[in-house]
């Protein structure tokens, strides 16, 4: 068997066993129980909740993130083992949502960690979540869910953005801007 | 072998004691050396006497021209020789410690020689009245020695000692009077020969009088009220000296009393009972004692009880045990009294003091290979062969109690700051500990004399 074939088989099997760890900072946490219990029963796709990032494959960011929580999210994400995937829930993770003018919540999650999939909505309904998972599985099978590879590849960019955000300093943002301009 | 007249053992120190003030007039410091020389001479003489007795059996010497039973007779048997050697040697060693002291009182040296001589006198005399006289000298000397500290406690102890000692003397005198009244003699042999002619009542009365009188000196319960106070009040040296000299002489006197003098059945039973009570009370009282010197004093009482039990068993094995116990106790207790300080704290931090004192404690609680062990082993062996389980049980329980309070003593000693004793005291302690080890590891050197002593005592001799 060639290496590519092996990878394909590996992906084919792995997509049926997605273990997730949810970082329940926002309102999205409330949407998870119906997804997991008998109404929608996510387990039939082999998706199971896990207690720690060491064991998990999928990181769910279920809502807005402040700078302080972002620090924790980054730590959790880095503790997960490859291959790993991130799903952003709701508009808060996309553009800040209703916290668009808050001095302390980040506006775009994908600036700090690679996000494979966003679910729009405030909050998304369980059906949307199910759909997202199915989509993610499809992406995995096709080899499109490559957020973890991006994180390795553009590690310095992600780190730079994280560092900027953690510092809260406007001048640092300006400096980088100038660097990019050059 | 030079044959030494036993009387020298008494006469020389008495004589030299009276010359001591003369020496003092010449030089104050010379008195110590002078006294030490006298004591060494005495110890040498006692050794020669001991060798002589071991070789030739009992040595008699009559004094003042009269023949016994009227004249004064000295009769040194094996046990007397052992004790004389013990008392003289150890008192020399204990006197060594006086060199570490700044003060040099001629009175102390005189009294010391006096008490040594009179204690020796008790163990080598063959005459009841003589014994009484020596008892009186010992007692009077001892009062002085106890008070020599010139502190409140020492005066208190000395006073109690005087009162009880006087009562004891009175009882001894009563006993002697009773015997003399019936038998018209005071010679031990004579009494032993004709004791059967005495009416039983008189015999018993005289026995009671004598045992009470001597019991005061031999620290027997309930006659020993003076002991804790006197030991506590006295200086370490004097307490140490007491536990080797007068108390051993007293117990010897009781031995003579129950073996030679008045061999009546109930006397032994009484002595046994007294021994058991003394043992129990002494050990229990020591258990809760906070002051280390008082604790050692109570422990001495307990040991005296043990020796009395051994003596009263009236068998060869038990007598050997008694001799081992006496030697062990004299060595160990004089060692402990020398080493002990207030609350014992700190003294055991110094290994040169701790090791000898540890050995002393081991000997007293009967650990091998020290004299105390051989004594206890023989005593138990004899009790076992008689099937005296109850007494064995008492001895065992008190031994456990003993080890509990000695454990506390050891712990207290190891805490606190390191303390030093004077060089002479350390030397004395180490010599005593070495003697303990030697006697323990080579018990046969004491065993053979002890066998003879036992045989002699059982045969009605001195």
């Amino acid at each position: 068997m060639r290496n590519d074939d092996w990878k394909k088989v590996s992906r084919l099997v792995s997509k049926k066993s997605l273990w997730m760890v949810h970082f329940c900072t926002g309102c999205g946490a409330m949407e998870m129980p119906p997804v997991m219990t008998s109404r929608y029963d996510m387990e039939r796709f082999g998706i199971a909740p896990m207690a720690t990032p060491r064991q998990a494959d999928v990181l769910l960011i279920t809502g807005y993130l402040s700078i302080k929580t972002l620090k924790r999210v980054v730590q959790v994400y880095e503790q997960m083992r490859d291959p790993k995937y991130v799903i952003g829930f709701g508009s808060c993770t996309i553009n800040g949502g209703m916290y668009w003018d808050s001095y302390n919540t980040i506006k775009d999650l994908s600036k700090y960690i690679p996000v494979d999939l966003y679910i729009a909505g405030c909050m998304p309904r369980p059906e949307a979540i199910m759909d997202a998972f199915l989509k993610l599985m499809e992406m995995i099978e096709k080899g499109e869910a490559i957020g973890w590879k991006k994180y390795h590849k553009y590690y310095d960019q992600y780190k730079r953005n994280q560092r900027m955000a953690f510092s809260y300093r406007l001048d640092e943002v300006q400096d980088i801007k100038e660097d990019d301009a050059k | 072998m030079v044959s030494v007249p036993p009387v020298l053992l008494i006469a020389l120190p008495l004589l030299f004691a009276f010359f001591a003030p003369l020496v003092n007039m010449w030089s104050r410091k010379a008195v110590k050396v002078y006294t030490l020389l006298v004591l060494i001479l005495n110890a040498t003489l006692s050794y020669l006497l001991f060798a002589n007795v071991m070789q030739n059996g009992v040595v008699y010497e009559q004094l003042s021209g009269f023949y016994p039973p009227i004249g004064i007779l000295l009769a040194v048997g094996p046990i007397g020789a052992i004790l004389a050697l013990l008392i003289n040697t150890l008192s020399t060693i204990v006197y060594l410690t006086y060199f570490g002291e700044a003060e040099n009182s001629v009175k102390f040296s005189m009294l010391y020689m006096l008490v040594t001589a009179s204690s020796t006198g008790i163990v080598i005399t063959g005459d009841l009245f003589n014994m009484f006289v020596f008892f009186e000298i010992t007692a009077v000397g001892s009062y002085g020695l106890v008070a020599s500290m010139r502190t409140k406690e020492s005066f208190e102890g000395a006073f109690k000692y005087i009162v009880l000692g006087s009562i004891g003397s009175a009882f001894i005198l009563l006993g002697i009077a009773t015997i003399y009244g019936y038998l018209k003699t005071l010679n031990f042999y004579d009494i032993a020969l004709r004791i059967d002619t005495m009416p039983p009542t008189a015999r018993l009365m005289s026995f009671i009088f004598l045992i009470i009188g001597i019991g005061v000196e031999a620290e027997i319960f309930p006659l020993n009220g003076w002991v804790p106070d006197a030991y506590q009040g006295a200086s370490n040296r004097v307490a140490s000296f007491f536990s080797l000299g007068p108390s051993k002489a007293g117990i010897y006197a009781i031995a003579r009393l129950i073996f030679t003098l008045l061999p009546i059945l109930s006397g032994w039973q009484l002595a046994l009972l007294l021994g058991v009570f003394t043992l129990i009370i002494g050990e229990l009282a020591a258990l809760m004692q906070e002051d280390p010197k008082r604790m050692l004093a109570y422990s001495s009482i307990g040991q005296m009880g043990l020796i009395l039990i051994a003596l009263s068993l009236h068998s060869e094995t038990a007598l050997i045990a008694a001799i081992f116990l006496m030697v062990g106790h004299a060595l160990a207790k004089s060692l402990l009294f020398l080493g002990v300080r207030d609350y014992a704290r700190g003294t055991l931090r110094n290994p040169l003091i701790a090791a000898p004192m540890f050995i002393g404690i081991l000997s007293i609680i009967g650990m091998p290979p020290f004299p105390g062990f051989w004594g206890k082993w023989y005593l138990m062996k004899d009790l076992a062969s008689q099937g005296a389980w109850l007494i064995m049980l008492v001895i065992i329980l008190t031994a456990i109690v003993e080890s509990v309070y000695y454990a506390r003593f050891l712990h207290r000693g190891t805490g606190g700051e390191k303390r030093k004793l004077s060089r002479s005291e350390t030397a004395a302690i180490i010599i005593l500990a070495s003697l303990l080890i030697l006697v323990g590891i080579f018990p046969n050197y004491l065993y053979d004399p002890a066998v003879r002593a036992a045989a002699s005592l059982l045969g009605g001799g001195p």
Binding site: F23, R54, K71, R72, V73, Q75, V76, Q79 | F159, K160, L164, I167, G168, F171, M205, I208, I212, P222, L223, G225, P228, L284, A285, A286, L287, M288, F324, L348, P351, F358, L362, G366, M367, P368, P369, F373, W374, W377, M380, K381, A384, S385, W389, M392, I396, A399, I400, V401, E402, S403, V404, A407, R408, L410, H411, T414, G415, P443, N444, Y447
Partner: protein
């Protein structure tokens, strides 16, 4: 050569005392002197049917000796039983000294002198052929331990050791004297005991006296205090070597002198004498209670001490049951315990040497810092917990088989559950000291300490592969007691109930390990530091003030359940006895009022009583 050996050892005691200022030279002298018992051991190997090459036995020791001491005679002779226990003591002793050579700094002369004296005493005890010799050397051994305890200076240790030591001595003395009363001799060979009550009481007393040294409950009170307050090399020898002498004595008196038929004459229960049955029940209780108490300790030394108490209980069970199987098991357990407990105490010492801490909750993460110490301790812990990859299991297995064979319905579950309890405290040591968050940046233990530990681990491996060799060593002992040795080959031990094949276990384990290793090494891995831990996203560097080491109060739920029952139960009972004695003591003290008139009245009363007694009589 025996007397010379004693002489040389005594001489060595004096020499090391004099060399107090030069600890290394003192250690060298002590180690050289400690080889004497080892040479005696090799010289006497013939009586166990072992022929050793002559370079291993350079000194010739006579096999028996009679020496007249005056008041008594010393009778010394080597027996298979003595040889077996000498094997345990003589091999662990030089290693403990080797460990001490880098461990003991303070007043080293006294330390080595005390150690040599304990060995001298035990050497005599093992050779003793009469009660006087036994008692003499027993007590020398006993008070040398006291001397070592005094170095620690802990009040409870000194008081409890001296009082229990003297209780033991007095029980032994009483027992010997009762035997003397019955038989008229102290010679073990001439003691022909009858079935009278006196003999029973005497034997019980002797066994009780020996049980104090063997730390059987409820006579164990001294052990935790002493074990936790003395220097580790000494404690390793005390727990590993000297505590076995109690069981040596039990075997000697119960089976060597009294004999099985005599014990059985006082009644039997399923062919086991009531005497032995009682001992087995006490042993089982000790095993269980010791284990429970060990689980609750936070002080590493106390934990090991209670664990010793528990493990020694197993030996008592074996001796109590008294079948060939059980006795072999007891001997095996004694052998194992000697080595693994010595290793554990030494490892604790090494940890203390590097970190200066005894509390388990204050240690942690030393496994990566001191890997060789950790591995030695791990091996010892496997032996302690009777995991079948060390020799520890074979001993326990023999005991279980023996108990089941005799249909001991209530003893066996207690033994088994105590065995499970051992996992609990074993893991407490492992986690608290060696695993978890690294908190000390220390070096590995010195080479002398490592060598001592690893040489002690060696027997645990050897007897894992060849448990039959221990059965071989037990065979002459059993034949002395008129028993058949258990059927065995070097690898296989067979009983009526089942068989235990070490070879199968080892090969299966090797195979399984190999397969899992392949499975496991298939994928690469990277090593991350301990700080990179999942703590709900919290980076630990933010919380310097919170310890991530969860070792304090580790078994709190367990303590909540068992604590009220077991904590200091036995000690309280003894304290009540002590309080009663103190009450009596205060009473006696009050007799001495300090008033002269009272004393005078005593004399008068005494006189009156005597006169009255005489009048009535």
């Amino acid at each position: 050569m025996i007397l010379e050996a004693f002489g040389v050892m005594l001489l060595a005691v004096i020499v090391v005392l004099a060399l107090d200022r030069y600890p290394r030279i003192a250690a060298a002298v002590a180690i050289i002197a400690s080889l004497l018992p080892l040479f005696a051991l090799t010289s006497w190997a013939g009586i166990m049917g072992i022929s050793l090459p002559s370079f291993l036995a350079p000194l010739e020791f006579e096999s028996s000796l009679v020496y007249n001491l005056g008041p008594g005679t010393l009778n010394l002779a080597i027996t298979p039983l003595g040889w077996f226990f000498l094997l345990l003591l003589a091999t662990s002793f030089p290693l403990a000294l080797l460990f001490a050579s880098s461990f003991v700094r303070n007043r080293a002369g006294g330390f080595y002198a005390g150690m040599l004296l304990t060995m001298l005493g035990s050497f005599g005890v093992l050779l003793a052929r009469d009660a006087l010799t036994f008692f003499l050397f027993w007590e020398i051994m006993s008070w040398s331990i006291l001397a070592m305890v005094l170095r620690g200076g802990d009040r409870r240790a000194i008081v409890s050791y001296l009082s229990f030591g003297s209780l033991s001595a007095m029980l032994l003395l009483f027992g010997f004297m009762m035997l003397y009363f019955k038989t008229g001799t102290f010679l073990f060979g001439d003691m022909h005991l009858d079935t009278s009550l006196t003999t029973l009481v005497a034997l019980s007393m002797i066994v009780a006296g020996l049980a104090v040294k063997g730390a059987l409950m409820p006579l164990h009170v001294w052990a935790p205090h002493v074990y936790s307050r003395s220097e580790e090399p000494f404690v390793a020898f005390l727990s590993g070597g000297l505590s076995k002498l109690g069981y040596f004595g039990m075997l000697l008196f119960m089976y060597g002198i009294a004999g099985l038929s005599l014990l059985s004459s006082w009644g039997t229960f399923r062919d086991v004498s009531y005497f032995g049955y009682a001992l087995a029940v006490i042993g089982a209780f000790t095993a269980f209670a010791g284990t429970v108490l060990a689980v609750m300790q936070d002080d590493l030394r106390k934990l090991l001490a209670y664990s010793s108490v528990g493990q020694l209980g197993y030996i008592a069970i074996g001796i109590g049951i008294g079948t060939p199987l059980a006795l072999t098991g007891a001997l095996f357990q004694a052998l194992n315990h000697t080595f693994f407990k010595a290793v554990l105490f030494l490892a604790a010492g090494a940890v203390y040497y590097r970190t200066g801490k005894w509390k388990i909750s204050e240690l942690g993460g030393l496994g990566y810092r001191m890997p060789f110490t950790f591995l030695a301790a791990l091996f010892a812990i496997f032996a302690l917990a009777a995991i079948p990859i060390t020799s520890g299991f074979a001993a326990k297995w023999l005991l279980y088989e023996a108990a089941i064979e005799k249909k001991f319905l209530f003893v066996t579950p207690i033994m088994l559950i105590a065995g499970v309890g051992a996992f609990l405290y074993a893991y407490k040591i492992l986690y608290g000291v060696f695993l978890g968050e690294p908190r000390y940046d220390v070096k590995e233990a010195p080479i002398s300490q490592l060598v001592a530990m690893w040489l002690l681990v060696l027997p645990l491996v050897i007897f894992l592969i060849f448990p039959g060799w221990v059965a071989d060593l037990a065979a002459p002992i059993l034949s002395e007691y008129g028993m058949q040795p258990i059927p065995h080959t070097p690898y296989v031990i067979t009983t009526n109930l089942a068989a235990y094949n070490t070879l199968a276990v080892i090969f299966a384990l090797m195979g399984a390990l190999l397969v899992s290793l392949i499975l496991y090494k298939w994928k690469p891995q990277e090593v991350v530091p301990h700080e990179d831990n999942y703590l709900a996203g919290e980076p630990p560097e933010l919380y310097e003030y919170i310890s991530m080491h969860a070792a304090s109060n580790y078994y709190e739920p367990f303590e909540d359940v068992f604590g009220p029952v077991f904590r200091r139960g036995a000690e309280r009972a003894w304290e009540i006895i002590l309080a009663a004695a103190e009450f009596l003591g205060n009473g006696a003290r009050r007799l001495y009022t300090g008033l002269t008139q009272d004393y005078s009245i005593y004399i008068l009363l005494f006189f009156l009583i005597l006169v009255g007694w005489w009048l009535l009589w």
